[in-house]
Amino acid sequence: MALFPLQGVVEGDFVVLLVPVDDGDSMADVGAKIRSHVVGVRVPEEPGASWALRVNGSVVDDRITVRDLGLAPLDLVEVVRR
């Protein structure tokens, strides 16, 4: 378990963020961490909204961990509406 920096973007936001996660986090955790900086802050909350995670243009399984997905430090994770 180690601190792991990622870049994060949420659909509808204006800027790329630095998002520190743990390499043992699931991608669902990563998505929640990225969204916490943006949804309800600069992008409206939508009750019941469903979010997907994209890495290198492909949607990823949000149960897989950062380590097992093979992400590199400062890789970009996009959070988009399903």
């Binding site: 973007v9 204006f14 800027v15 790329v16 309800g40 802050v41 430090p73």
Partner: protein
Amino acid sequence: MPTLSRSEWYDLTRDMNWTPRYAREDDIWPEAQSRSFGIPASAWWTWDEPYKLTYREYVHNQVDKDAGVYAVNSVIARSKLFEGLDPGWRSAIVAHYGAIAIGEYLAALGESRMGRFGRAAAWRNMATFGTLDETRHGQIQAYFPYSALAKEPRLDWAHKTFHTNEWGAIAARSLFDDMFTANDAVSTAIQLTFTFETGFTNLQFLGMAADAMKVGDVDFSSLISSIQTDEARHAQQGEPTMKVLIDNGRADVAQRMIDHMFWRSWHIFALLTGLSMDYYTPLEYRQHSFKEFMHEWIIKQFLDQFRDLGLEAPWYWEEHFLPELDWYHHAIHLGVWFWRPTVWWNPDAGISPEERDWLEEKYPGWNDTFGRNWDVIIDNVRSGHIEATLPQTFPMVCNICQIPICTPSGHRAGKLQSPAPLVVDLDGRRYNFCSEPCKWIFETNTERFRGHLGIVDRFLSGLIQPATLEGALAYMGLSPEEMGTDADEYRWAFAAAGVEAR
């Protein structure tokens, strides 16, 4: 006293070029200080400045200028004019002084490098006047804010900024070091005097002077109008330098240098002038939008100059520069406001209902893009959740321009194909960029830039301790009293519904 008219003796006394016999040319003009680009000494001697003056004339003119401007300042200092200025306007000038004052002093170093290592006597003459000019500009833009410290303590940042690691200071130092402090004399003439001074400083110094006069800030207006008269003179070093390069078959050098520094200048000016013109200047006093001013002063006038010299518009002009005029500074403004504790002035949100109508008129689609982000911020302010309008993490920052990476805004505006940053992986380190031109600058000058650590790199490498937001603010030299807050105490958030501010 000379009895001849100036035109009869000027050329004789100015042209003090000779072939050295007792020292080697390469030792007098080392390539590191003054790149020759293979052009022989005698070719440089054709260097010819359009506006000629003598030292006697210089002193006479400058004494008159200083007497006038310092007189205005001493009268205004005794009045209540500063206290009565719009808070957003005050923020614009606090930002200006911090970003510019010590940079002017550094420019004196760049001018003095040309004064010693310029490859023609006429050029060294003009650069000596330029050194005096920039010394004047550093002094006067430190003195004016100094005289108002009792009214606005954060004008201390006119001196302090460049001695801190505040992110805007890192961005300004990065630009100015690249442009002149760590640049050879020939490159400085092209990148500082031509690209930056002839083009961009007119934006800040004349555009802002016009807005300042409307706002009633006669002190600032007379100051920066006066500064710009010096600029117009010493900026003329660029064209004769480029003519020597072009006449000797090195137009490629001039083109590449302009392409490089035009882009970097554009981004810093979008940060400084874009915010001031479109958000901090009170609506009733806005003469023009930032985009309109860019079109008038840069796109129209500068393009003509490129073409007169036989050069082309930079390679990124159509695909990257023109599209950014519609969105880039709006993104930077939102970012500066949201990350307001990280700056030394109070950002003016500039989004009252009337201002949003103006923004929509000048930038169609603003309400559907940036407006939607601001709507969420407004809701949080109205419901008393100010903490949700403040940052909990860093933005990613470009490794060339040192400004936050807002590619998602360009993508949303339909001007970029992807919201992703541009990336270069080099020897185990990832470099991130906000745009293709910034990435190009890195890739064509890798050895020059690869060792620099941006603010995010410093955080990730453990240089900022504690590794928290509080630690970062302290690292940036910002005490709680100095951190920016909203210029209008959030009154704009309650304006639309006629709701009482809490």
